[in-house]
Every structure is written in structure tokens, then in C-alpha cells.
């Protein structure tokens, strides 16, 4: 039996939870702002190698330069663009495919549903990164295939979650009532199923955003993501690894930004869950 709501000041707990969402949005927003600014302004041409090898941070180059003399600030700004494109792109691919497959699985007849469950259980046993690496290695190593591969790999978990949520909703009495009154399945999906599963899906997709950003960075670190000279944070980490002791900013800058974006995405997920789930708000 659900517990009765406790007495508290009006909106106190909700305000605390909103702070989580606000913090997450601020972190992701900061990266997004950096990416947007990079579209219209960059301190230097990313191909400009005139900065001198491993110049320390200074007025001309606030974060210093890399081995080739390229401005690091310019590179991390472009890296923000790539990280967000990879994160949002892969999440969109994973979300669209996963939700579509999950809905199909949820509404499927028994043997189709069983086959779906077995297939997703098998695919889910492979880590997202491993699947993505296999797909990229089979095709071509660049950002587009990497996004597609991460999205496809993620779609399995999204599909599985969607299927479970759909099944749960379809077992409710109001669905039986809707069917009895002659409502079509598409209408039931739009009017009853989707509104009931979206908060959980949104939380899941926000969490997947962080996973996708990390997966792209890892692929780029391994040379299977964005091709040079695109300054993916993962590639920057790889290239700066050998100079970590002599020029640590090359490692710290992309590393910190990567952490900011992933933590931000996770906080957004927490915040969305708290705001969207009335049961959690009351507990």
C-alpha cells in the first residue's frame, strides 16, 4: 500500500530536486554554448600550426598548444561540438529505433514477443562499446559511422526497456476498457501508452546521452571515431597522453570537459526523473 504524503512546506522537496535538474542543465548548457560559439567563432584556425610545440598557457593561447603547435582552446571548442553531436545523434538513433522496436515487441503476439525477448537478451550481453567497435571496424572509422554504431548498440537497451514498459501499461484495466469501447491500437498507443512510458524513457535517454558521449570519446581514443584533424576529446586525450607530464593541460582540458558533459547528462536524468515521476516526488 502506498504511504500517505508527508507534511512539509509547500514545494520544498521539489525545489531541491529541481536544483539537480538545473545543475545538470547548466553543465550540459555550458558545453552546448561552447559548441554553438565554435560554430561562429574560434580563437584560431584549427589547422594553424604556428603556435610552437607544446606552448604553455598564456595570453596568446589560454590553454597552450599541442605537439603540432595547434591552439588547444580551439580544439576543445571543436571537441565540444563533436561530443554533443555524437551524444545527441547516437541517443536520437538509439531512441527512435529502440522505442519503435520496443513498441513492436510490446504489442507483438506471444511467439514474436518471446523471440524479441531472447534476441534482446543476447544482444544486451554485449557492451555498447564492443558492439560499436565491431560495427565501426566493419565499416569505416569516422564520426558518422561511429554515431550510427553507438546508436544502434544503444537501441537494444532502449527497446528492451520500452517493451517492458509497454507490457506493463497494456496490462492495466483502462487499456481493457479502451479496447472494449473499440479504440484502435494506434490510438491506444498515442493516447495511453506513450504518455505513460515517456518519463521513464526520457530518464533512460538522458543517461544514454552520457554513455554515448563516453563511447564516442573511447572510439576516437582508439582511432575508430572522428578522423583527424577533427578534435574529438577522445583523440585529444590520446595524442596528449605521451606529453601528459610535460604539458598536462592537453590531458586535463578535454578530460575535465568530458567529465562535465557526462556528469551534466546524468544530473539531467536524475532531475527529469524527480520532476516527471509524481510517485518519487511524493515519497
Amino acid at each position: 500500500m502506498a504511504s500517505a504524503p508527508r507534511e512539509r512546506g509547500p514545494g520544498t522537496k521539489r525545489r531541491v530536486r529541481s536544483r539537480t535538474l538545473a545543475a545538470g542543465c547548466a553543465l550540459v548548457g555550458a558545453v552546448a554554448l561552447t559548441a554553438l560559439v565554435s560554430l561562429v567563432w574560434l580563437p584560431y584556425d584549427p589547422a594553424d600550426t604556428s603556435g610552437g610545440r607544446l606552448a604553455p598557457p598564456g595570453a596568446a593561447h589560454p590553454l597552450g598548444t599541442d605537439r603540432l603547435g595547434r591552439d588547444l582552446l580551439t580544439q576543445v571548442m571543436i571537441g565540444a561540438r563533436i561530443a554533443l553531436a555524437a551524444g545527441l545523434g547516437a541517443t536520437a538513433v538509439g531512441g527512435v529505433l529502440g522505442v519503435a522496436a520496443g513498441l513492436a515487441g510490446g504489442f507483438a503476439t506471444r511467439w514474436l514477443d518471446d523471440a524479441f525477448a531472447v534476441l534482446s537478451d543476447i544482444l544486451i550481453a554485449f557492451p555498447v562499446l564492443l558492439l560499436a567497435m565491431l560495427m565501426v571496424a566493419a565499416r569505416q572509422a569516422s564520426l558518422g559511422p561511429a554515431i550510427l554504431a553507438i546508436g544502434l548498440a544503444m537501441s537494444v537497451t532502449v527497446a528492451r526497456l520500452t517493451r517492458i514498459l509497454v507490457k506493463r501499461v497494456l496490462a492495466q484495466d483502462f487499456i481493457t476498457a479502451a479496447r472494449t469501447s473499440g479504440t484502435s491500437w494506434p490510438r491506444i498507443t498515442v493516447e495511453h501508452v506513450l504518455p505513460n512510458i515517456w518519463p521513464t524513457l526520457l530518464v533512460s535517454l538522458a543517461l544514454h546521452l552520457g554513455v554515448a558521449v563516453l563511447a564516442e570519446a573511447t572510439l576516437s581514443y582508439l582511432g575508430l571515431g572522428a578522423a583527424p584533424p577533427n578534435a574529438s576529446w577522445g583523440r585529444m586525450l590520446r595524442e596528449a597522453q605521451t606529453t601528459a607530464f610535460t604539458a598536462p593541460v592537453g590531458v586535463i582540458a578535454p578530460g575535465v570537459l568530458l567529465a562535465v558533459l557526462v556528469v551534466g547528462a546524468n544530473l539531467v536524468a536524475d532531475g527529469v526523473r524527480d520532476v516527471a515521476d509524481p510517485a518519487r516526488r511524493r515519497s
Binding site: 600550426t49 582511432g223 597522453q241
Partner: protein, 499 residues
């Protein structure tokens, strides 16, 4: 009663000791002289144990001279000495070589070395199924025959002045031993201990060795895929010496520390921007020259190696007898490059795909090349390829426009005389001169001809030779006797001693 916290501490301490004693087999310290275990750190794990069967650079590094020996030995200084051959004679026409093999040599299995083993070993390399990179250097062999109990006679179809040198790269193996890809039977001062794929390969001193015994009891090659992990292994004492430093910046960790010794030896490893000479636009010499002149190789070398390494203007490193400084042939001159490009019919430049191996330093070099060529209107699209993909796509199928690749061997300018090689450079005059050089009667004649070849390919800009790697070996100061040069990737370990 123990508290959970104490239990946890005990568990962690126990785990650390277990790992220290079992998992991490540290290089031995304090062992008597001659009984030490030497740890060698390397980035090049063998693909398999057969250098004529695709074992790669790792098989050569760990096994040549250590487990397997040739009739001759190429010393770390680049001299060729007798090894399993006691002596040899050459007929006046230069077509018959008679080798007398050393008496009393046995394989690790106990079988004695016979002329049949020598004949079998050479045939392994020249066989049609051989994937040895040395196969082409021995294709003039007409017949090999044993004679008596210690003589081998090799007849050639044409003179080969490098024949003895080339034989120094051929392992002598027991002809009764069938699979060399996973086990060994050589005559060297070590026998193979254990090979843990992905981790290490150990060599144990062979007490029945025919020559001077190894100065240490055991050598463990530890393999790393990451340069930072390799450096850390040296810093923590997990290895005593690393076979080749991958980054000049890591030297800051060791430079000035009396606990380590840094050697800057001679290298034969060249980094090439290799054009596909069969395919437009690189089938035109002026385009190749324009690209060569548009890239500031000095700046690239300084960026990657920070003062180490050197520039070369052709395929010939200074350790080859026919070396000539040709860096002036295609000087860095952006205006000249623009003019050449316009003259070649590309005043507005063009776009091409650069197949780039995913491992360092190629991606960084590719970014630099792209940035440099943008100055003359050439757009470079970088296509990342794994090592396997490179082998299939570029090396075997010749399906590329341009690529980046390292070439490790010395005396490999001869590849420009082979139009079937992956870069497809087809200059009949060069092919003729390479052939004539190999058939030369004297070293002077060979040197003069190959010097001409080096100059000709530089003038044709057959490839763009970006730079010559340095060969930086770092060892603990208590360890000595290791080779400091990187000729042909070999790394003799039998003289290494640890105080």
C-alpha cells in the same frame, strides 16, 4: 572479533601481496651475475613465432640471434660476421657459394646441425608460400645442395653482391621441426620459455649452446600496446630496458635521473608519405614534387620528435653504404610547390584520400600533412585504417591514393626497382640499376649504382620521405650490454648483464 574495516584492510593488503608475488613477475634483483632475469619492454609482440610466416617485427626482435641464428650475423653496428658458417668461398663468376658450416652445433632439441637443415631453412624463405619480406632478396637462387657432412653449395642464376648480407636474415631451423609458428627449434643461446599471448614471451638460457653462453639466465619480453604503460613499467622496475622509446616527451621522466641510461642509436625506420604512382594525380611527377615541397618536414620532425631523429631526402638512411644527403632535392618551398602544381594542370589543387594507420604517430602526421597541403589548395581527406586493413587494402590490393607508413628495414631502396610493390613506382631505369647493383662485381660499383637510384627516386619524388625515426633505448643504469641501434628490428639480449 575483527571489525569489517580491519577485514577490508586485510583483504586489500593480501591482494596486493598476492599480485606482487604472482601476477607481476618482476625482473630479478640481486641474483648472482650470470643468473639474472632481464625484463625487456617492447611495443612489438610477435603475430606468431615464424619470421617467414608472418611473425612480424616482434618475431625478429625477440628471436633473431637469440633463439635462431643465421649462417651470418648482422652486428648491432651493421657488420656481417660468420655465425653458423665457419667460412665461405665464392666462385670467380660469382654464381656459386660454398659454405662450410660450424662443427658441433646442435639444435635445442638435441639434433645436430646438418647441411640439409641449412638447405631447408633457405628454401623456407624462398618457397612460393613464404610471406617473408626477404623472399625477393633471394630469388636468384637456382639450387641448394648439401655436400658431405659440413658443406652447403648454393648456385645462383645471377650474381648477388648482397647474398651473404641477405643470408644473415635467414633463420637456420631444424628441418624435422614442422610448425614454427607456435614452437621453436633453433641453435641460439636461448630456448623459448613460455609465450603468454598479449602479455610476455620468455627465453631461457640454453646450456648446450655451441658458443659463448648467454650472460644472463633468462630474458622476459613484456609487451605493451601503450607507450605510457611501457614507460611506467620501466619506472616501476617491471622491465630493465625498453627496446625503443615511442615519444621524446617521455624522456623527461628519465633524463637526468642517475637510475637510467638513455642511448640515442642509429635507426633504419623511415616514415613515408607513400603515393600510389599508378593512380592520378600521383602518376605525375610534378604533382608528387609539389606535395613534397609543400610539406615542412623539419617542422614535422621537431613536432613529433622534439629534436631527435633526422631528415632524409630519399629512402636511404645514413647507415646504408649508399647514403647521400638529398634533403635539398625537394626543398620546403610553398611558392615552388604552387608553381609545380599549376604546371601539372592543377592550379586550384585537388582532393585526395590519405589512408592513415590508426596508431601513433600517423594520425598526428596526417593532420599535419592536411594542414600543410591546404596551403597549396590540396584537400586531404583522412581515412583511418587498422593495421590489418592497411595490409589488405593498401599493401595487397593497391587500393589507395596515398598512405602513411613506416618502413623499418635497412637497404630497402631496392623496392623502388619493383613495379609490383604497393606504391607502384615504375621507372625502368631505376629497375635496371637496382638489378645491376645487385649483380655488381664490387661493393664500390654497387654503392655507386644504388646512390644513383637514391638520387633518381628523390628527383622523381617517388614517395615523400618525411623523416628518419630516432632509436632511443632506455635502460636501468644497473643493466648493460644491450644493443642500442635498431637495425632491422633485431634486439640481441645475450650480452645483457645486471649488477
Amino acid at each position: 572479533m575483527k571489525t569489517p574495516k580491519k577485514c577490508l584492510i586485510g583483504l586489500v593488503v593480501g591482494l596486493v601481496f598476492t599480485l606482487a608475488s604472482c601476477g607481476l613477475e618482476q625482473a630479478s634483483a640481486g641474483a648472482p651475475p650470470g643468473e639474472a632475469t632481464i625484463g625487456v619492454g617492447s611495443m612489438y609482440e610477435p603475430q606468431n613465432l615464424d619470421n617467414a610466416g608472418g611473425g612480424g617485427q616482434g618475431a625478429t626482435e625477440a628471436l633473431t640471434g637469440n633463439v635462431y641464428e643465421g649462417l651470418f650475423r648482422l652486428t648491432d653496428e651493421g657488420r656481417v660476421e660468420n655465425l653458423l658458417a665457419e667460412s665461405h668461398t665464392v666462385s670467380p663468376d660469382g654464381l656459386t657459394y660454398t659454405f662450410r658450416i660450424r662443427d658441433g652445433v646442435t639444435f635445442h632439441s638435441g639434433a645436430p646441425l646438418t647441411p640439409d637443415d641449412v638447405a631447408h631453412s633457405i628454401r623456407r624463405v624462398t618457397a612460393a608460400a613464404s610471406t617473408s619480406s626477404r623472399r625477393g632478396t633471394l630469388d636468384m637462387i637456382e639450387s641448394i645442395a648439401g655436400s658431405g657432412r659440413d658443406t652447403v653449395v648454393v648456385k645462383l642464376s645471377s650474381r648477388s653482391i648482397s647474398f651473404v648480407y641477405n643470408l644473415s636474415q635467414v633463420w637456420i631451423v631444424n628441418d624435422a621441426h614442422e610448425d614454427l609458428s607456435a614452437s621453436e627449434d633453433g641453435t641460439g643461446p636461448y630456448r623459448l620459455g613460455t609465450w603468454k599471448r598479449g602479455s610476455s614471451l620468455s627465453l631461457d638460457r640454453f646450456d648446450g649452446y655451441w658458443g659463448r653462453k648467454a650472460a644472463n639466465a633468462r630474458v622476459v619480453f613484456r609487451y605493451f600496446t601503450d607507450a605510457s604503460a611501457l614507460n611506467n613499467a620501466l619506472l616501476t622496475g617491471a622491465v630493465d630496458v625498453v627496446t625503443g622509446m615511442q615519444s621524446p616527451d617521455a624522456l623527461a621522466l628519465f633524463d637526468g635521473d642517475p637510475g637510467y641510461r638513455i642511448s640515442n642509436g642509429k635507426s633504419t625506420t623511415k616514415l613515408l608519405l607513400a603515393f600510389n604512382n599508378r593512380r592520378a594525380p600521383f602518376d605525375r611527377m610534378l604533382v608528387r614534387r609539389a606535395v613534397s615541397s609543400a610539406i615542412d618536414e623539419r617542422k614535422l620532425l621537431d613536432s613529433i620528435w622534439n629534436g631527435y631523429g633526422s631528415m632524409i631526402g630519399s629512402m636511404v638512411p645514413p647507415t646504408d653504404p649508399w647514403y647521400e644527403d638529398l634533403t635539398h632535392v625537394n626543398p620546403y618551398d610553398v611558392e615552388l610547390a604552387r608553381r609545380q602544381l599549376a604546371e601539372a594542370g592543377y592550379p586550384r589543387g585537388f582532393t585526395f584520400t590519405l589512408d592513415t594507420p590508426t596508431y601513433d604517430p600517423h594520425p598526428t602526421v596526417a593532420a599535419f600533412v592536411k594542414s600543410e597541403l591546404a596551403k597549396i589548395g590540396i584537400t586531404v581527406e583522412i581515412n583511418m585504417v587498422t593495421a590489418d586493413e592497411w595490409y589488405t587494402k593498401v599493401y595487397r590490393n593497391h587500393d589507395f591514393t596515398a598512405t602513411l607508413q613506416e618502413h623499418v628495414n635497412d637497404r630497402d631502396v631496392r623496392w623502388y626497382g619493383d613495379p609490383g610493390f604497393y606504391w607502384g613506382y615504375d621507372n625502368p631505369q631505376v629497375a635496371r640499376e637496382v638489378k645491376r647493383a645487385e649483380r655488381a662485381g664490387t661493393v664500390e660499383e654497387q654503392t655507386a649504382l644504388l646512390r644513383k637510384v637514391g638520387r633518381r627516386i628523390a628527383e622523381d619524388a617517388a614517395s615523400n620521405w618525411l623523416f628518419l625515426y630516432p632509436q632511443i633505448v632506455i635502460g636501468s643504469s644497473g643493466v648493460s650490454g644491450y644493443p642500442v641501434n635498431g637495425l632491422n628490428a633485431q634486439f640481441y639480449v645475450y650480452d645483457i648483464v645486471k649488477r
